[in-house]
Symmetry: C2
Subunit: 172 residues, 2 copies
């Protein structure tokens, strides 16, 4: 269970755009140089980010990418979900995952675990926005991240009762 560099690079690139775009588009070449990420790899990632509607592209000279909406309205989860495979893919403890039926049948709790874990992770990642990471908070604040619950992220219809209360983790 790992977060790949695709996720990390994508988040870094999105932060980079948010920090360096003053209304004008940011070319990938600039991000590549600043973040030390290969241009071609960025291009690959940004196709997914564009199709996922978190950035918009502008072609030609002085072109580049701009955030599709305000940095405070783009969550880390929005980004990560576009470039990472989903955690929960309908498999539980069932013997044969291709079959819908679970081995321990009506008492199966396995699927619920992974789906609940997935919910937890998504709620956590959706509680942090690109704007949060651009504000350069003081170290004390870093560890006291304010968690916003019930955030509705793009393309993911959540009923309110689906959303867990995400409490801040006191790490320090």
């Amino acid at each position: 269970m790992q977060i790949s560099t695709k996720g990390k690079y994508s988040v870094r690139a999105m932060i980079d755009i948010a920090q360096h775009s003053s209304g004008s588009p940011v070319p990938l070449a600039a991000i590549s140089k600043r973040e030390g990420i290969s241009l071609q790899f960025l291009e690959q990632l940004f196709q997914q980010l564009r199709k996922g509607h978190v950035v918009k592209s502008i072609r030609g000279p002085h072109g580049g990418y701009v955030l599709a909406r305000e940095a405070s309205e783009i969550t880390i989860g929005d980004i990560v979900r576009l470039v990472e495979p989903p955690l929960y893919s309908s498999s539980c403890f069932a013997r044969d995952e291709s079959v819908e039926q679970c081995r321990i049948a009506e008492s199966c709790i396995g699927g619920a675990i992974w789906s609940q874990l997935s919910e937890h992770i998504n709620n956590f990642l959706d509680s942090i926005t690109v704007a949060d990471l651009c504000n350069k908070p003081k170290p004390e604040v870093v560890y006291g991240l304010k968690m916003r619950s019930n955030r509705i992220s793009e393309g993911r219809a959540k009923r309110p009762e689906d959303v867990a209360e995400a409490e801040a983790v006191e790490v320090a």
Copy 2:
């Protein structure tokens, strides 16, 4: 970000032992047959589970594996951590991950995100025990999983303030 079959298989095998062991050891061959998991793959997994002290082995005829402690004292997190690579490995948004220094330096929040995410996941997985999954709860109960916070899992020293309040997710 995926949970591999190693994690799922290991959890299933542990549940299998808990359900079929009446004090006597459960041979891998029996688990293999019941769960449809290759014997050799199980052997591979159980080496890690044994070294991680969640099971004990008994060799010779009528041998097999027994849980190293009560099913209610073994969490899913205990199992999964033994066979899955760790989520958080000291990398944040830093340009050069081999260097300890982060690009956005004193205001770096990136590392905190992944480490907090890791905490969240561990707390969640540590809130569910093998015993919970053997009790065959009714479907209603399945989705109302009671989360126990502040569980101390083997080999992971947690200060109380490190542990988030894990609330039950109302899925249904």
